[in-house]
Structures are given as structure tokens and as C-alpha cells.
């Protein structure tokens, strides 16, 4: 039975897992998203298959870098997120899945989505109404519209506004009660 929400959104939560899903077994694993440490980043190198320079991201004082891990397994990083709290929204500099979570042979699905939803949640917590922006390559604009409910603001800029942010949070953090 559908619940009537005060905000007027009408969508179905198709699975009550917040987590990431093992692609082979279909099992889902609850996740934690926490601030990264220098120690964590020792293994996050191009030599180990990461595409971006996360130690450099970590050095920017205005940016926060978060790691996504499976609960009770904090040393294995499933994905990383670098964001900056702006005056009126959150800007996502970079999201990257771990090398073993990319491409067709990925171990876990749902990593980037989890991280984007977390960034939206953070935006609400900071009083920015879930508003989020990030930059996109032109060939991915439509995919972000379809998968994140993002809005193509123009040029390379994508924006996720309040309603889309709420949808993402409810998809990836279903135990989080939002009105």
C-alpha cells in the first residue's frame, strides 16, 4: 500500500537495502561512509589501479574526502568521494569506484550511487536543501538525468535539486526518515 507523503512525491522503494550489491551472488551489504585518513590513502595509488590522485584531493583544505566501506570492514575502500561545501550547495569534485568495482567485472554495484546520495544527504544537513552540483562529460549528461534525476544546467554543469536529492536519499538510505 502506498504511503501518502507530505512532500507529494510518489515513487516506489524497490528494495529495502541501502547498501552495495555483490554482482555475482546478489547479496547486499550495508555500508559506512566516513572521512578518509592519510593511512587509508596509502594504498590508493595509480599503481593499484585508481585513476585519480586522491592524495592530492585530500590535501585541499576546502575539500572533504570520504570513503565508502562495507560495515565491519573499514580497511577495504569500495569507493571515494571528494566534495566541497559551497555557500548554497555542495559541489562534488570527484567520485571514483575502487579498481575492483569498475567495468563489467565489478564485484559490487551501487558504489557511485551511494556516494552521490550521501553528498545529497550532507547538503540537507548543511542547510542547502539537498542541492548538489558536479561537472559532466557531454556524452554522460543524459545518463545522469536518467539515473540521478539530475538537471543539465548548461555547459558541463549538472545540478541535483531538492526533489531529486530526496529520491536518491530514499533509494540509498531508506531508513533515513525524510518528510
Amino acid at each position: 500500500m502506498k504511503k501518502n507523503r507530505q512532500i507529494g512525491l510518489d515513487f516506489e522503494i524497490d528494495q529495502l537495502t541501502n547498501s552495495i550489491v555483490n554482482v555475482v551472488s546478489g547479496d547486499s551489504f550495508p555500508t559506512d561512509i566516513t572521512i578518509v585518513t592519510v593511512e587509508d590513502l596509502k594504498s590508493v595509488t595509480k599503481k593499484n589501479g585508481w585513476q585519480f590522485l586522491w592524495k592530492t584531493e585530500f590535501k585541499y583544505p576546502e575539500r572533504d574526502v570520504y570513503k565508502l566501506t562495507i560495515v565491519n570492514n573499514p580497511t577495504v575502500i569500495q569507493g571515494l568521494l571528494s566534495l566541497e561545501i559551497k555557500a548554497d550547495h555542495v559541489y562534488m569534485h570527484l567520485v571514483e569506484s575502487a579498481p575492483f568495482n569498475i567495468g563489467k567485472n565489478k564485484i559490487y554495484a551501487g558504489v557511485p550511487g551511494n556516494l552521490v546520495a550521501f553528498a545529497c544527504k550532507l547538503s540537507f544537513q548543511r542547510g542547502h536543501e539537498g542541492n548538489l552540483s558536479f561537472l559532466s562529460k557531454s556524452q554522460l549528461v543524459q545518463h545522469y538525468i536518467d539515473s540521478l534525476g539530475a538537471f543539465h544546467f548548461g555547459g558541463r554543469v549538472m545540478i541535483i535539486e531538492t526533489n531529486a536529492a530526496l529520491k536518491l536519499i530514499n533509494k540509498y538510505f531508506p531508513l533515513c526518515k525524510l518528510n
Binding site: D10, F11, Y91, H93, I102, P112, S133, L135, V157, I159
Partner: protein
């Protein structure tokens, strides 16, 4: 109407550097204007609701 999101199928997002000053300003203006629109809508709805019914 049910709207279901497609599964996000990318290995990374962003990585194209920070926002330019112009982009940041444009985003701020946009968010401000959206907020004003929402407030106007809310006021219209509130005013309509507070009108009393008058029967002839």
C-alpha cells in the same frame, strides 16, 4: 505516477576540476531564483487556503 531511476552505471564522476567563478555565480543565481519561485507558490497556496467560502 511512478518514476523509477535507472541504475547509475559509471566508474567515476567529475574529475574535471573545480567550478569556475562564473559557473559558481550562475548556480547561485539559479538556486536563488528557484527558492523565490517555491516561496511564491507556497504563498499563493496559503492565501488561497485562507480565503473563506462565501455563500450567496
Amino acid at each position: 505516477m511512478q518514476t523509477k531511476l535507472k541504475e547509475l552505471d559509471v566508474d567515476f564522476i567529475g574529475g574535471q576540476g573545480p567550478l569556475t567563478n562564473e559557473e559558481e555565480k550562475a548556480i547561485s543565481e539559479f538556486l536563488k531564483s528557484r527558492k523565490v519561485e517555491r516561496m511564491k507558490k507556497h504563498l499563493r497556496f496559503t492565501r488561497t487556503n485562507s480565503r473563506k467560502k462565501v455563500t450567496a
